[in-house]
């Protein structure tokens, strides 16, 4: 059923009339044109669609629109501020922590979610938190290093 859903998207108010049972992923990608959030599995099993909803990393492919009403949603497009890359984004670049890059937005957003609640995670905490995000190219070792670097520099900033 269509209803008006209002939320904050990347720091700005957003409001749209939408079937509230639709998943956030498709609304982001096609209704709102934010294609940085990727489809990978559709069942919350790969993490390519990870976004932040009110401070927590969520799988947008299984998150209904009604669940984001009134919440703050951050996507990969909202991470850089004033053209300045977020420390996680910088660290991913510096560590070559990606190959095909398709899982990268989800990796960064999930890591961002970790640093919001745990600004200085141990290596095993990083691995545990990231374990459900899949990368087929095998950039894992560098992704862990990049998260460590970003955490050292900025913590949850």
């Amino acid at each position: 059923m269509k209803e008006t859903i209002a939320f904050t998207l990347n720091g700005r108010p957003a409001s749209l009339e939408v079937d509230s049972s639709r998943m956030l992923l498709w609304v982001l990608r096609y209704d709102l044109g934010l294609t940085g959030t990727k489809y990978g599995c559709g069942e919350g099993l790969c993490g390519a669609c990870t976004v932040i909803v009110s401070g927590k990393a969520e799988r947008s492919c299984v998150l209904e629109m009604k669940a984001v009403a009134g919440k703050k949603v951050t996507t990969i497009e909202g991470l850089a501020t004033n053209g300045e890359l977020h420390p996680l984004q910088k660290a991913f670049v510096e560590h070559d922590a990606l190959q095909c890059g398709y899982c990268t937005p989800g990796m960064i957003m999930n890591a961002y979610g970790l640093l919001l609640t745990n600004p200085h995670p141990s290596r095993s905490e990083i691995i545990e938190h990231m374990d459900g995000n899949l990368c087929r190219c095998g950039a894992h070792q560098r992704i862990v290093q990049a998260i460590e670097t970003a955490a050292q520099r900025a913590g949850g900033a």
């Binding site: 990608r29 990727k38 890059g101 070792q141």
Partner: protein, 732 residues
């Protein structure tokens, strides 16, 4: 050094004899005429160059059996625009392997321009020179020299032009950072100024590239040039492309391979607002402006299929494949097996198996087709944009030059994105609907239509003397193909026979599609060979590394083995030493690799914990060492999957795995400590980088498990159940 075999080819190029006809069935792409090309590009300087004969011959040789030739007069690999920026053109595509960076390095190096001024244009069939496809680890070793030759000739042409403009003898001129300098006269002219408004068609034959000793960019590690776009979500993949009025498609699929549609009631789908149902023969699809609404509408279709009774499953497949195997082809042969048997003190027979494995890229197959009048534009995740162009043109009855395939970034491929089924579906639906149509396969479709790495069998009989010399080697591989099959040890009496294609299937063989999977065939062959070599070493009572060196004279292989052993800290011991150390080595795409692994095996659960992997690779002249390390780490990590957990479960034509919950690819927590060594080989030509580092993972881990437990794993993947079974068998 290339080793010749008495069989049909060399050890490295054998995969190229496999049949690409399905992917490249149409004729060669027509080169654009110069006027069309300039219209597409805007102004700038076009450098025509001729492919050096040696490269042309090499290319022709590599393309045998594929019904395709490189166009003889393909025009441009590069353009220098009026603002001084340089575009490099390649039909190769970027799916993570990093050639968007390394090719720019090659071009910048040879042309003498700053790396930052180079942009690569990739996989666009209107702009780029024809290409067979991005596979076989050929981008750097085959395309690299051609690109370098183009740049060398371009630079020489520019120097000639500068000599005229500066009125200085050519011999006095030097190039640097996009300009030509006359040091004596203290004069300078930039490439941009030379190119200004001019089109130059000058051929200079026989221009040699710079000597390697003068390279400053090739061999230097540079960061990925696509990273900034990828970390911000700005990088575009095929699914991120939008055009006005486009519709999203969801297609009705059969529940099992081989099923036929009896009846479909589409009324429920038609009732969904905005949904359009297409029914065209065997194709039933729902189109909708939103993909998730198309999915909902598809779910409303009631369809009945007749399901053929399953005849094979993931357990009986090996017996079935052995029975279905055609006559073998001898790939390599020498000496007398009979003499070898007589000379052996220990003779050992074994059969090795591996299951079907999925490519499972995180980006599913995606395409967007837009037809305007008699022109088609296609954006697709594909490893073969030029083959797609021909196929799409043929489907629509358009002349090939009216079809443009644009390949955005690809979210992983690994050999699985060469068939273009999803793109042909998009074309067909766009034609039927009269609107642009995007097809994005669901994860279940991705597993269902994947061209799996084939299940395969290897049977080996071999023998050795008491002193540890291998006296004969009798090797048969079924359904994996010959890539990586010919062994490289010093064995006088040997025979290698390949039964059945490496990836195509014949009727009655595989119950679904199979295809090339990262280093096709070589994972199967290297697992079997290196397991068997290890077994011989154990029978003779020698350390596995020492046994290999004892039977090796090839200096490149000895070098990678010794380098891996040094980094790993290998000390000689007879297996099983209980340390959990394993070694394997191999060759692929002209490159030599050796891997060492350390494992711990939980004897109760059967869990293999891979603690550490070292990989040493000698890949000729390495363009971007850090980029190559990424490939090594990627190969090791992806290789853990086929070694430990990945196998497609099926019953007849029904694929039982449809998502990542049951098909387990490597996770962060599975990750070993990884160390990579790239051996310096600056004086050798470019070799392959992306496929070789995966080939040893099955063998190195299986050998480490034997070293830890004394149990020999004979089937990949080494699941908990198979490890427990092997441990039980060893004890009883």
């Amino acid at each position: 050094m290339r080793r010749e075999y008495t069989g049909q080819g060399t050890v490295y190029e054998d995969h190229l004899k496999l049949d690409f006809s399905a992917a490249t069935q149409a004729g060669p792409s027509l080169p654009l005429d110069r006027r069309q090309f300039l219209q597409l590009l805007g102004g700038g300087i076009i450098v025509c160059f001729t492919v050096p004969d040696s490269l042309g011959a090499q290319e022709g040789e590599r393309r045998r059996g594929m019904g395709q030739q490189l166009p003889q007069d393909f025009n441009a690999f590069l353009r220098i625009a009026e603002d001084g920026r340089v575009s490099g053109f390649t039909g190769k595509v970027e799916y993570g392997q990093g050639i968007i960076t390394s090719m720019a390095q090659i071009l910048a190096e040879e042309l003498d321009v700053p790396l930052d001024s180079v942009d690569m244009v990739m996989g666009d069939t209107d702009l780029c020179p024809w290409d067979m496809g991005t596979f076989g680890t050929m981008s750097t070793r085959i395309f690299g020299p051609a690109l370098r030759a183009a740049a060398a000739e371009a630079r020489a042409v520019l120097v000639g032009l500068a000599a005229e403009q500066l009125q200085a003898p050519k011999e006095r001129l030097r190039t640097k950072a996009g300009a030509v300098y006359d040091e004596a006269g203290q004069k300078r002219i930039s490439y941009a100024e030379l190119a200004k408004g001019q089109m130059i068609l000058r051929h200079l034959k026989g221009v040699a590239p710079k000597p390697v000793s003068e390279d400053t960019l090739i061999g230097k590690s540079v960061l990925r040039r696509d990273a900034a776009a990828k970390v911000t979500g700005q990088a575009k993949y095929a699914g991120d492309i939008k055009v006005p009025a486009m519709l999203h498609a969801r297609i009705l699929r059969p529940p099992v391979h081989g099923a036929g549609l009896i009846h479909a009631d589409t009324s429920g789908a038609r009732a969904i607002e905005g949904a359009q149902v297409i029914e065209d023969g065997d194709l039933i699809a729902v189109l909708h402006p939103l993909p998730d609404m198309a999915e909902r509408a598809l779910a409303k279709i009631r369809a009945e299929f007749d399901r053929p009774a399953p005849t094979v499953d993931d357990r009986t497949i090996f017996d079935h494949l052995l029975k279905a195997a055609p006559q073998g082809q001898t790939v390599a042969q020498g000496g007398s097996l009979e003499e070898g048997r007589k000379a052996a003190r220990h003779i050992f027979d074994q059969t090795y198996l591996n299951s079907y494995v999925s490519h499972a890229p995180i980006e599913t197959h995606t395409a967007l087709a837009k037809i305007e009048g008699n022109k088609l534009t296609l954006w697709a995740s594909t490893q073969t944009p030029f083959a797609l162009k021909e196929a799409a043109a043929s489907l629509l009855g358009f002349p090939a030059q009216n079809v443009r395939v644009i390949t955005p970034f690809i979210g992983g491929a690994f050999g699985g994105k060469s068939n273009n089924q999803q793109a042909m579906e998009a074309v067909r639906l766009a034609k039927l609907a009269g609107k642009p149509v995007q097809v994005v396969w669901t994860r279940a479709e991705e597993f269902f239509y994947d061209t799996f790495r084939p299940a395969a069998i290897v049977k080996i009989q071999a023998g050795a003397t008491e002193a540890g010399l291998i006296t004969f080697w009798d090797y048969g591989v079924y359904w994996a193909g010959e890539r990586g099959a010919p062994q490289f040890y010093n064995i006088l009496n040997h025979r290698t026979v390949s039964y059945g294609s490496g990836w195509g299937s014949t009727p009655g063989s595989h119950p679904f599609a199979t295809g090339p999977w990262r280093a096709p065939g070589n994972n199967t062959n290297t697992f079997a060979r290196e397991s068997h070599i290890d077994t011989l070493a154990a029978k003779v009572g020698m350390d596995p590394v020492e046994f290999r060196l004892n039977n090796l004279t090839d200096p490149r292989m000895r070098r990678v083995l010794q380098a891996a052993a040094k980094t790993f800290g290998w000390s000689p011991a007879k297996a099983p030493s209980r340390r959990g150390f394993g070694v394997a080595c191999g060759t692929d795409a002209g490159t030599y690799v050796a891997h060492m692994a350390e494992v711990a095996v939980d004897k109760n659960t059967g869990n293999i914990k891979v603690k550490r992997v070292v990989c040493a690779q000698e890949m000729g002249l390495c363009v971007n060492p850090e980029g190559a390390r990424l490939q090594l780490e990627g190969g090791i990590t992806m290789g853990l999957g086929y070694a430990l957990s990945e196998e497609v479960r099926f019953k007849g034509g029904e694929i039982l795995d449809s998502n990542f919950d049951t098909y387990t690819i490597p996770h962060f927590s599975r990750l070993p400590q990884i160390e990579t060594v790239i051996l310096d080989a600056k004086d050798s030509p470019f070799q392959g980088g992306g496929e070789p580092p995966i080939i040893c993972m099955g063998g190195a881990i299986a050998n480490a498990v034997f070293d830890a437990t004394g149990a020999r794993l004979l089937q990949l993947p080494m699941t908990l159940e198979r490890v427990r079974e092997a441990l039980f068998k060893r004890e009883s």
